[in-house]
Amino acid sequence: MGEQAMGAAIEASLFVLMIALAIVIARLRSLFAAAMLFGIFSLLAAGMQTMMDAVDVAFTEAAVGAGISTVLFLGALGLTTSSETRPLHHRVAGLVVVTATGLLLAYGTLDMPAYGDPNAPIHRHVAPHYLVDSDAEIGIPNVVTSVLASYRGYDTYGETTVVLTAAVGAILLLGGFLGRAPSKDDDPASESRDGDGEGA
């Protein structure tokens, strides 16, 4: 009973829990409970990513998925009803589409290299260079940071801009300027034009 069997057992139980949780969330009508369970789902996903040694990703998943999105879901819930209305049409069509897409994706993974395969294309391109030379070129121990901030600095700059754009979009769409609650007769045009002189 080595460490590997232990890891496999933990991964399997995380997987089973995630699948069970996904089914429960899909069947729930109470949006409040669904928002909470989404947070737990993210936490399990973070556990899974930790098991796969993707600690940086797990970190983000836990903070964004389990933390901030839950709060944003709750904030959004305050603006809508607390339970989902029953759909008018059949849900069978949805089930078929979801199952077909899932099977298609699973079929697609058959072509992918095995998890952790050292001969996978991604490990044979620039990765060896990063792993071997980043200590001399960049001089910091965490290669992930070296890649994200320096070798792939453009991409990270682009991502920062995307995050900034998300905030601008949220501010423009969600009423007035950073939560100065707009009064009901405000039209959207005046909200986006200028932040001052509106709201209660």
């Binding site: 983000t60 901030i68 001089g139 992930v144 901030a149 769409l173 939560g179």
Partner: protein, 157 residues
């Protein structure tokens, strides 16, 4: 269930019941400074361990949002006014781009941090990474707070 959801639907939805529950208030209050400190650790220790600007920003924002959940939206808005959030959103991205422009002025390509230190390329890389990660952290923190403000401050229509 529907009771607590109705509370959420009030004018300031984030007030919730946390404000009236003394145990949650005290425990949450004690947690906030540690969350903020941990965010700073993640920010500045990203060169050596897991984490970096994005994670740190999200954790810092989570600490601030927890503060708002405990003391109410207005309490947080007093400490982190919307104008600070607005400036912060742009400031981080500007810092990132600024590092790129400075490395161009020093004779390298855009975002070539090695040029920041003419004597020691690796030291320049170190400095550049520290600064751009700080920029990412600042932008992400304030973006998360901005989105939270936008959601939480909006009344039901």
């Amino acid at each position: 269930m529907s009771d607590s959801a109705d509370d959420l639907a009030g004018r300031t939805p984030i007030k919730m019941r946390v404000r009236e529950t003394i145990i949650l208030r005290i425990v949450g209050k004690a947690l906030v400074p540690f969350i903020l400190l941990f965010a700073l650790y993640v920010q500045f220790h990203g060169d050596y361990g897991p984490g970096g600007g994005f994670q740190a920003g999200v954790i810092f924002a989570a600490g601030l949002i927890l503060h708002a959940l405990i003391f109410g939206l207005d309490a947080l808005r007093e400490k982190v006014p919307p104008i600070v959030v607005e400036i912060g959103i742009a400031l981080g991205a500007l810092l990132y781009a600024g590092v790129g422009v400075v490395s161009m002025l020093m004779g390298g390509e855009f975002l070539h941090y090695g040029m920041l230190d003419t004597h020691d390329m690796a030291h320049g890389q170190h400095l550049g990474i520290l600064l751009v990660e700080l920029g990412v952290g600042i932008t992400v923190t304030f973006v998360m707070v901005a989105i939270f403000y936008a959601f939480a401050g909006r009344s039901r229509q």
